[in-house]
Symmetry: C2
Subunit: 232 residues, 2 copies
């Protein structure tokens, strides 16, 4: 299986929208749903000792949108989701995704959670801050939440890219979060090779075969109705 | 569990879009995906003797859109989908759903399949012609495909409503297709009580709890990551 560089990841994304005519609504729904399924599979079993209260940290772009979708589906799967979503856009889709969360009883807050509150309250953190278009360094307004993620002992599930990591080179000196689980979407990016002791899943079962071939992705087979594949 | 009348079904749908601010893209993707999952579960096992070539009949409205989405996901699950989609709209979403199918190698045709071809070629028919807003009688342009569905021995999976049935009263004298499987979306409609010897599934795992309560739906519990529940 191929690990995409940043340029390839951006190109694949553009082709899905421009050539294959998917809407952001469609693919974000499928991506966020696959994240919720991985989380439910990994941490949601009745035997799991992980608390079902989940902090979902959503960034300003599409990675954050995946997080908002995941939060909604997690709520329907009896997780207690709390969303931190500090920097919002005026795009209808994002306003509506937030509204959908709130009308299902999910709090969507601009207040950065403290380390103490996170450690005391949550069983899991979903990191949906930055995705494959991120370039370091992290902007100052996100420094407080990155500090919480860096210091917290609560397991982190990163959506597509561990936030703050370079998409190709991985952890940076100042941003070195270590997710317990990474959910690569569409295809893994190069930084996923720098994971240590993390579960790694692939989600986003929507890539047209012709596009897989064009980028020589060699994706693994999704079994049955699964929306994800466990890679390691 | 409650079976909705036509007025309730229309109201629930309107609330999902107007109050909960879902887009058609989002809910159609989830609905169509749940249909593909039911079909894969029911007919897609390696032990199944049903041929994996599926005729997906898509009507002019949202029921047809669910069919187009299901066809695309079925293709990704190694079913060989062929779409009959005679009456198309100018809406971007539908143009794009058709394009997505075609760019995955699915033929989308306006030519009504003959009974002989259907019987010889296909292992399954997905009936996504008319949904919960249908009122009999069937328009003349759909008479040929309804005739095929009425006469064919190939198992039919109906999406939300067996096409041609009255949403509340069920089979009509002139339209009395007998699906092998019905996938009710969101909540079953009254006509589902008139099924005989059919499998019955519920899909569309996206109904906000407050909306479920408002309509006293008393939906069954979706287990694990399943996007459907088997009702009978």
């Amino acid at each position: 299986m191929k690990y995409l560089n940043q340029h390839e990841a951006i190109s694949v994304d553009e082709e899905l929208f421009n050539e294959y005519k998917f809407s952001v609504d469609q693919l974000m729904e499928l991506a966020g749903l696959s994240c919720a399924h991985v989380i439910n599979d990994c941490y949601g079993s009745p035997q799991s000792t992980v608390k079902r209260k989940v902090l979902v940290c959503c960034g300003p772009g599409n990675n954050g949108g995946d997080g908002l979708v995941a939060a909604r589906h997690l709520k329907l799967m009896n997780f207690d989701a709390h969303v931190y979503y500090p920097k919002r856009t005026e795009k209808d889709l994002f306003i509506n995704l937030q509204h959908q969360c709130e009308s299902m009883g999910i709090t969507v807050s601009k207040d950065c959670p403290t380390l103490e509150w996170v450690e005391g309250e949550f069983g899991l953190i979903v990191d949906a801050l930055f995705g494959f278009s991120f370039k370091p360094p992290v902007r100052e307004s996100f420094a407080p939440i990155m500090d919480v993620l860096n210091k917290s002992k609560v397991p982190i599930v990163s959506v597509d890219i561990p936030s703050g990591w370079h998409v190709e080179e991985g952890p940076q000196d100042e941003c070195n979060i270590q997710p317990d689980c990474l959910i690569s979407l569409t295809a893994p990016k190069l930084c996923a090779k720098k994971l240590t002791n993390a579960k790694h899943y692939l989600g986003g079962r929507f890539v047209p075969p012709k596009l897989q071939d064009k980028y020589a992705m060699e994706l693994p087979t999704y079994e049955g109705n699964n929306l994800f594949v466990k890679l390691s």
